[in-house]
């Protein structure tokens, strides 16, 4: 239990997926103008990463590993993730329209979010068990959510400030992310 908690905290805070591993930067920088949309994107990523870690881990342990086809993992994982996102979209649409309203817009954007494939590959690389893979996935996704919501909060405030014209928009967002990354560096000795 303690080990799982350690992995979750490590994935969420110490090795934050966006701020220290640079995965999933597109949505992090693109969909962080408002806290509300950022939270929506964050929950969608949490949803998909959790299911994707479970599925890819199952496929790896029970199909690829016994068949000695582990070298196909990149191609298999990306296809599984793409199919999964489509499937999740259909299921959510059918079962829970309110949830679809909230997450639907973000789901298609996630297929090529490299954080999802990144988590699946890390799980395999570190030889995590099924449970550990899912915990690592949830931790990573929570870290993503935390980072994107904080950034959106800061960006909402920055809107009202007087920023030099050449720094407006992306440069100031990147600088903000850099400062956040410095803050997250402070967690390095936590584990």
């Amino acid at each position: 239990m303690a080990d799982l908690l350690k992995i979750a905290i490590g994935a969420a805070i110490v090795n934050n997926v966006v701020l220290s591993q640079f995965l999933g930067l597109c949505p992090f920088l693109g969909v962080s103008k408002k806290v509300k949309t950022a939270a929506g994107m964050g929950s969608a990523v949490l949803f998909v990463i959790t299911i994707a870690s479970l599925c890819t881990s199952l496929i790896y342990t029970y199909i690829l590993l016994p068949a000695d086809l582990t070298y196909l993992n990149t191609i298999v994982f990306i296809l599984v993730i793409a199919a999964l996102v489509q499937f999740v979209e259909m299921v959510v649409k059918k079962i829970s329209p309110p949830l679809y309203q909230a997450l639907g817009v973000y789901l298609p954007l996630i297929t090529t979010n490299c954080a999802v494939l990144g988590v699946a590959l890390t799980n395999v690389q570190k030889e995590y068990s099924l449970l550990t893979s899912v915990v690592n996935g949830i931790g990573t996704a929570l870290g993503f959510m935390l980072a994107i919501v904080i950034l959106a909060g800061i960006r909402e405030k920055i809107e009202h400030n007087n920023i030099p014209p050449s720094l407006k928009g992306m440069p100031i967002t990147l600088i903000t992310s850099g400062l956040m990354a410095i803050a997250f560096c402070g967690f390095a000795g936590l584990l």
Binding site: L25, C26, I75, P108, L117, L121, G178, L179
Partner: protein, 225 residues
């Protein structure tokens, strides 16, 4: 011949994927801790980009429109795996340095973006050179960023010590954000001086406008259907 030169110029300068189009930010920030790593990542991506563009262009009449995205992904992922084998066999040190970012080339916006925007609609030879041009543009940008971070962040360049009190933070994760921020700010400054309005492009604007960013655009397009 003209077409080839035009494609190369387009990829390296006019529509440079990193510096102008702002695509593929993940590897750009992650592996540019040194010039060598940046160049290695750039060249690896160039190989994948050139090969996948060629094959997609060859198969463009066979691949049905409805399943083109999964087909692109399969083709790109195969080439990435292939290149990974080659690196493991002949350049293990580069493979170790780039680690997980090699398989992640699959989800690089630039590759799916070029497949969708160019290779799927154009003949083989221009597509090949479009891939090479874009790849070289990416390589140059990553090499430049890597060199900047290596010099400022560790006071060295290819192992030669330049000064003794480097600004360490530039070499660490936060520094990647700062260096890219500075490059974008300089571009904006130049644009402002020329009287143009700086616009947000590529990945950095996806989710809102969705155009230009290859993979994001694929997502946005699906949304429209």
């Amino acid at each position: 011949m003209n077409k080839i030169a035009e494609r190369l110029y387009n990829g390296i300068i006019k529509e440079n994927p990193t510096l102008v189009m702002m695509l593929g930010m993940c590897p750009t920030l992650a592996v540019t801790t040194s010039c060598m790593n940046g160049l290695g990542m750039g060249l690896t991506t160039t190989v994948v980009l050139a090969l996948s563009n060629t094959i997609i262009s060859l198969l463009r009449k066979i691949i049905p429109d409805k399943v083109r995205v999964p087909a692109f992904i399969v083709i790109v992922a195969s080439f990435v795996t292939l290149v990974q084998f080659m690196l493991e066999a002949y350049l293990p040190s580069l493979n170790d340095a780039l680690g997980i970012y090699i398989p992640l080339i699959v989800v690089n916006c630039i590759i799916l973006g070029r497949a969708e925007a160019y290779a799927y609609k154009n003949p083989v030879i221009p597509s090949l050179f479009d891939g090479i041009g874009m790849g070289l543009g990416f390589t140059i940008a990553l090499g430049l960023l890597g060199a900047l971070r290596e010099i400022i962040g560790s006071g060295e360049f290819f192992g030669i010590e330049l000064f003794s009190e480097p600004v360490r933070v530039i070499g660490l994760a936060p520094g990647a954000f700062f260096v890219v921020a500075a490059l974008v700010a300089i571009q904006n400054k130049i644009k402002l001086r020329q009287g143009k309005k700086p616009e947000e492009k590529g990945c950095l604007s996806c989710g809102e406008s969705g155009h230009n960013c290859g993979s994001c655009a694929l997502g946005c397009k699906k949304e429209d259907e």
